[in-house]
């Protein structure tokens, strides 16, 4: 039992890890993607089961976005297999993925800031009533539904008419998650939902991830923060240079190991050495914080980590 | 509203079908009155062609695009060019700096003659001097009646806008008008301002000026209506272009005004309005003649060394009044867009 670290969220985390009980909703088998002669992703295996949170970790440029784009229908894979409910698929638009119950909540483009909360909630799937020439939005129903769904997720808003841009980043993420859940998402892809958030707001978002999991959704949680991942994750996949470096379930890996994998073992050691020489950093403590310090304290020398190599780095 | 955008092929199909349907029904939709079929096919005055060797003449004006008046000038120039075996190069720009560039362009092309309008003479001074240095004869037309000699032009064809305005003012006096409004469709245009100033000079009653937005006809209509209902004493509306006179007729009805309407310049619809008496008279400066004479004079100079106006006096093409008494004689030419 390693979930003790999650502390305040214990009430929601019921800690029933239904391992192997359900058949996978989404599965990638040895999948990859090339843009022209640039191979952004290769040899990726990923399994998403209902009621489980699959975390995909990796530094900038590791191939996380490419992975999401394949699953959410924005791009198509060029290698391997992509299965939904055991059947091979190939989505050409996000709409097709949505129809299969795969919903994506993007980090910064999840909502239209100037539109009211309830309009955002139903955007693209508006409820209407009446025959065609006078077919109109069923505003009452939509507002009521939005309010109910948000409450089910534990979000309480005074005024659904307020522009969603006036909500905090965490609240916006939560609205987007609640929306995906309401529209029958079976698989929820969360792209760095905690990246731009403060500590408290991150906690709120993690709580809703757990809530979505408890409703039986399969969640793909993309992040570069192993702490966040470890709080809610059931399975962890670490991407590195466009391929899988680690794939382990919760009982196979500890937070330390995960953090180590995330930062990249040997490179970290070199970095540690360097830092120890430069200033009196207490390097023994370093693994706890290296997530934050690694990219900053690494200005020029290339070999250290893989600094932002663009959307698809070269792996010949 | 579809929930998804239809594919392109399904979007095009109905358009094609509709186009086909329209084509099929066209036959049943012909108009029994008006239209091209009722328009008399009048042949243009096609004179013989000169046997002199071909020469190139540039006509550079300050026309802004789509102006009826300049269209007639150009037609006159083209007619002369066709008769004289002249290759006419027409260009225009309302901006004086750009007009100067166009003249420079003509000099660079080594044309045999240049005809130019002098809306803003100072801006063209230098480039005209260059043309003289290059030994290219330059004549003026339309605007610049007081400037052409100073700039060293050979000849000038046009009307003095002030004189034309004054003539109209005199005419208003003889009609017994008390208060006139002069409608300017382009604020800041010198020629238009001079016309109104001329009217004011000679007209014994009061002259007011009204600016309208010439590129928006509904706005012109509303503004003239507003003026007529604001000041019921106005008994004459003077417009400075034919289309605006026709619009003023509608404004007059909207404002239930008794004012009469007179205008500068002519066009086809205006002649029939004069014929019907909805517009009293028009002051024509014979733009066709300006264009024609400008080109013809350059041909004459090259082939026979002639100067029109003796090189001392401008050749005045207006003001010529068109009213109910002589409109019949003018109408058929105006219908062709040459008068």
């Amino acid at each position: 039992m390693t979930t003790d670290g999650t502390g305040t969220h214990g009430a929601i985390l019921t800690d029933t890890v239904p391992e192997g009980g359900d058949s996978p909703l989404v599965e990638l088998r040895n999948a990859g993607k090339s843009y022209g002669n640039i191979r952004a992703l290769h040899g990726v295996d990923l399994v998403v089961r209902p009621g489980q949170v699959t975390c995909v970790l990796g530094d900038n440029g590791a191939g996380k976005s490419t992975l999401i784009k394949i699953v959410s229908g924005l791009h198509q894979h060029t290698e391997g297999e992509f299965l939904v409910d055991g059947r091979p698929v190939r989505f050409s638009t996000p709409r097709e993925a949505l129809d299969q119950g795969i919903a994506t909540v993007y980090q910064d483009l999840a909502t239209v800031p100037l539109m009211p909360v309830w309009r955002n909630f139903f955007l693209g799937s508006e409820l209407t009533k009446g025959p065609w020439p006078v077919r109109r939005l069923d505003i009452d129903t939509m507002k009521r539904t939005a309010d109910d769904e948000l409450r089910n997720m534990g979000i309480v808003l005074d005024d659904l008419e307020q522009p969603i841009g006036t909500l905090s980043g965490g609240q916006r993420q939560c609205v987007a998650i609640a929306r995906a859940v309401h529209f029958g998402a079976r698989v929820l892809i969360l792209d760095e939902p905690t990246a731009a958030l403060g500590v408290k707001q991150s906690g709120v978002v993690l709580k809703y991830i757990a809530a979505a999991r408890d409703r039986g959704l399969g969640v793909i949680f993309i992040t570069h923060n192993p702490h966040h991942a470890y709080m809610v994750g059931d399975h962890f996949s670490v991407l590195r240079l466009g391929t899988m470096e680690l794939s382990a379930s919760r009982d196979q890996v500890s937070l330390e190991e995960l953090t180590n994998h995330m930062a990249g073992g040997t490179e970290l050691a070199a970095l540690k050495h360097e830092l120890a020489q430069v200033r009196g950093v207490d390097v023994d403590e370093l693994p706890e914080e290296k997530d934050l310090t690694a990219p900053v304290a690494n200005p020029a020398p290339g070999p250290a980590t893989d600094p932002v190599a663009g959307p698809g780095e070269k792996t010949p | 509203m579809d929930s998804s955008s239809p594919s392109r092929s399904s979007r095009i199909a109905p358009v094609v079908a509709l186009a086909a349907a329209v084509a099929l029904t066209l036959a049943g939709c012909s108009s029994s009155s008006g239209g091209k079929k009722s328009e008399e096919s009048a042949d243009g005055a096609s004179a013989g062609k000169a046997s002199t060797p071909q020469m190139t003449v540039a006509l550079v004006t300050h026309q802004s695009p789509g102006d009826t008046f300049w269209d007639i000038v150009r037609k006159g120039a083209e007619a002369a060019a066709a008769k004289d075996n002249v290759k006419l190069v027409y260009s225009a720009d309302p901006n004086a700096g750009n007009q100067a560039n166009l003249i420079q362009n003509a000099i660079d092309q080594k044309v045999d003659g240049i005809a130019v309008t002098l809306a803003k003479p100072d801006a063209l001074k230098d480039v005209i001097a260059k043309a003289k240095t290059a030994k290219i004869p330059v004549v003026g037309l339309n605007s610049g009646v007081s400037e052409w000699k100073n700039l060293g032009l050979m000849e000038f064809f046009g009307q003095d806008e002030t004189v034309a305005g004054e003539a109209l003012g005199n005419r208003l006096n003889s009609e017994g008008a008390k208060k006139a409004v002069c409608v300017i469709q382009e604020q800041g245009n010198i020629g238009l301002t001079q016309r109104c100033a001329g009217v004011k000079n000679t007209f014994s009653g009061t002259t007011e000026t009204l600016y309208v937005n010439g590129t928006d006809m509904p706005s012109v209509k509303s503004t003239i209506t507003a003026k007529l209902s604001q000041d019921k004493a106005i008994d004459y509306v003077v417009t400075l272009g034919a289309p605006f006179a026709l619009t003023a007729v509608q404004s007059k009805a909207d404002a239930s005004s008794k004012a009469k309407i007179a205008t500068f310049d002519l066009n086809k619809d205006l002649t029939s309005a004069i014929d019907q008496g909805t517009i009293e008279f028009a002051v024509d400066q014979q733009p066709y003649l300006q264009g024609y004479l400008a080109i013809d004079s350059l041909w004459l100079y090259k082939n026979n060394g002639n100067y029109m106006g003796g090189g001392e006096q401008p050749v005045l093409t207006g003001p010529a009044f068109v009213d109910k008494t002589n409109v019949d004689a003018v109408a058929s030419f105006a219908a062709k867009g040459t008068r």
Binding site: L114, E126, R179 | G66, S229
Partner: protein, 358 residues
């Protein structure tokens, strides 16, 4: 309507204690203040101010027929300002809107005249041409991803040239021939350019169309799926696409709506004046856009209304004609126009600031 709806939950929710949990930073402001904060209310007050000003300064304005004239002028701007505003809410511009009006009128006029057809043939073909231009604008914008400012600037120049060149080519003049004696003209004039009597005042039918279209546009914007999409594609195109809004369809159809507006105003001009001058319409696009912006539509898209531009257009018409009714020195006309508009916009801004500051 919507006001009563969203005021409702705050009042009728004592049984839900969880509601009070919110962090208190989004407290509801009084209804009056929230109303004032809406841009269309600000422009309404600005329009009222201008109206009252001219009522005092220009006695002829008090006359019914003067009001009809002012409203007529406003309606010819307002009918086009509506689709231009919707397009702006949808995040795009159309600089070709002014000359497109003339293109439509020229098409109808020349087609009917040259082929000696019933004028309705010209009217229908002009509609297709106008929608086609709108489609092309939209399609190019969506396809290239370039700013619509550039694309429609191109169309603007093309249409300006084509208007002139084709008219010249076909009629050998720069204006079209008079079509008032052709079949169907009377009928079309009744629809597009008639007027009717209200208590002795001749009211132009365009005023009715203007208000009807505005009501329709308001309904579509606030009460239909499509309206929701318009706000979404203007507010955040990528988010809209990600949640399944047909962005391409929405944008192209908005451009086509501008085409429809251009057709309608073009037909009005044709059947009012019988002929069309091919060089007209240049510069009108900016007046339409200004009316929309004064009416509270966000230049960057995503916010605005259909009712705001109605007042924006009214303000334009009122100032433009009010100066004439007041009999001021016309040399200053443009300056007055500018000052009045600026003043109205400032009132609008001030009202909004005051209302949002609480």
């Amino acid at each position: 309507m919507s006001m009563t709806h969203h005021a409702e939950p705050a009042v009728t929710t004592p049984p839900a204690p969880g509601r009070k949990e919110s962090d208190g930073r989004t407290k509801q402001r009084p209804l009056a203040l929230r109303l004032l904060a809406r841009p269309e209310v600000g422009v309404f007050l600005g329009a009222v101010a201008v109206y009252v000003f001219f009522l005092i300064a220009a006695p002829p304005v008090r006359d019914g027929s003067s009001m009809a004239n002012i409203l007529y002028q406003s309606s010819t701007i307002g009918i086009m300002a509506l689709p231009v505003a919707l397009l702006m809410i949808g995040g795009e511009f159309d600089l070709s809107a002014g000359v497109a009006v003339i293109t439509s009128a020229l098409t109808a006029s020349m087609l009917s005249y040259q082929l000696t057809m019933n004028v309705w043939v010209g009217v229908v073909v002009a509609l297709l041409v106008s929608l086609g231009i709108g489609f092309l604008n939209g399609w190019m914008v969506v396809r290239t991803g370039l700013p619509s400012f550039l694309i429609t600037l191109g169309t603007f120049l093309i249409l300006q040239g084509v208007n002139l060149a084709v008219t010249k080519l076909i009629t050998t003049n720069v204006a079209t021939d008079d079509i008032s004696d052709m079949d169907g003209f009377g009928q079309a004039k009744k629809i597009f350019a008639s007027s009717f009597d209200v208590g002795g005042v001749q009211v132009k039918i365009t005023i009715v169309y203007w208000l009807v279209f505005a009501a329709l546009a308001t309904w579509v914007l606030l009460r239909t799926k499509y309206g929701n999409w318009v706000f979404a594609v203007g507010g955040n195109k990528e988010s809209a696409r990600a949640v399944g809004v047909p962005v391409t369809f929405t944008k192209i159809s908005l451009f086509m709506l501008v085409g429809f507006g251009a057709w309608f105003v073009g037909m009005h001009q044709l059947f009012t004046f019988n002929t069309v001058q091919s060089g007209e319409g240049v510069g009108q696009e900016l007046i339409y856009i200004s009316a929309a912006v004064i009416g509270g539509c966000l230049l960057t898209g995503g916010a605005g209304s259909a009712i705001g531009p109605v007042f924006g257009a009214f303000m334009f018409g009122m100032v433009q004609q009010g100066i004439v009714y007041a009999g001021w020195n016309p040399d200053w006309f443009k300056a007055f126009l500018g000052v009045m508009l600026l003043g109205a916009v400032l009132i609008n801004l001030w009202v909004q600031r005051t209302a949002t500051r609480r």
